[in-house]
Symmetry: C2
Subunit: 196 residues, 2 copies
Amino acid sequence: MPRAGRRNITSAAELEETAFELFDEHGFEHTTIADITAAAGIARRTFFHYFPSKNDIPWGDFDAGLERMRAEFRALPRDLPLLDAVRHCVVEFNRVPDEQLAGHRRRMRLILGVPALQAHSTLRFQSWREVVAEFVADRLNVPQDSLTPQTIAHATLGVAVAAYHQWLARPELELSQLLDTAMRELAAHASPPNGQ
Amino acid sequence: MPRAGRRNITSAAELEETAFELFDEHGFEHTTIADITAAAGIARRTFFHYFPSKNDIPWGDFDAGLERMRAEFRALPRDLPLLDAVRHCVVEFNRVPDEQLAGHRRRMRLILGVPALQAHSTLRFQSWREVVAEFVADRLNVPQDSLTPQTIAHATLGVAVAAYHQWLARPELELSQLLDTAMRELAAHASPPNGQ
DNA sequence: ACAGTATTTGCACCGAGTGCATTTTTAAAG
DNA sequence: CTTTAAAAATGCACTCGGTGCAAATACTGT
């Protein structure tokens, strides 16, 4: 279904790949947008038609993932305990087919490893938190911006990020496993004063 | 105790105040460093002797606070359950004398409300998380970079940030109260499958 | 007056990002 | 085939944050 008008000369995915190669070679900070566009054969100005900022390069189609997670939440039985539901969806959201694992790791190593991207991630993760808060608010029948949903959303993101860091540091461990363990970790230390 | 050499013409605190007034009037994004330095009567270049970046203006002496929190952790009885200890220190770290409340709110409204600052906060909060992780690691006798301390640190920060957002939105509520409640929130939903 | 020191400043730069007007490519209508 | 209108690509000038470096300035103590 071809629309009128000039066709795209490249794509976000293609630009991302070009950029990643340069990042691997020179590092994120030492790669300028001019470098990327030169390598991709487009004008510097054009870059900003594909990405709102340099920081957004590694995010792929994050929004599609969010929609998936929303669906996942909706599909869950209403009687599944709240945090079990959240844990399940976090794990599922981050499930990645084996053949995409390397790419996913490369993405996340950038996002969570480069300071500028780490900072920027907070802004992108906001919509992720909203998905969680939305679900919790609905389950508890409270406003989405009230304390409990927001707290659980923030904490859950924190847990997930911690698990990811662990995954990046220990490639031999499984991401899903780490996320699941991390999510249970809090509960384990929460109620009984057992300190271990 | 006067040292040799030229004396400082201003101070970070004074610059911060000047900057805050401009932020209040025009917003953070629409205030340039040139605006600030002009208002403060110093050269643009000099600004960067006082702050590493525009984003660091609202942070005051955050590091001193971290040291206080470390001390707080050390002073705690070893048999206080882990998460109780963490909760206590989070609340204490964020205890602010009444006469500084307004200033603290102004600070935090910026840090957590302006996107650029929200992003940057992730980098500043890293050292905060490290203080928590350090304590947890010590208590559990595991490496600081292992999953449990990192997870608890990340989650705790998330909870605290959620409480702060709530505080900013509802000035009538007490910060300490909100932090305490938020910290207990997770545990409440964690173990028993009661969904409410 | 002089030496040493720390701060301030000026200047020239770089890189990200934006606004706006213009050019280029393309599909489809006349 | 020509014209039209859409959409993308581009060029250019500009703003702003931030840095490196060298020179100027203000201060203390000899």
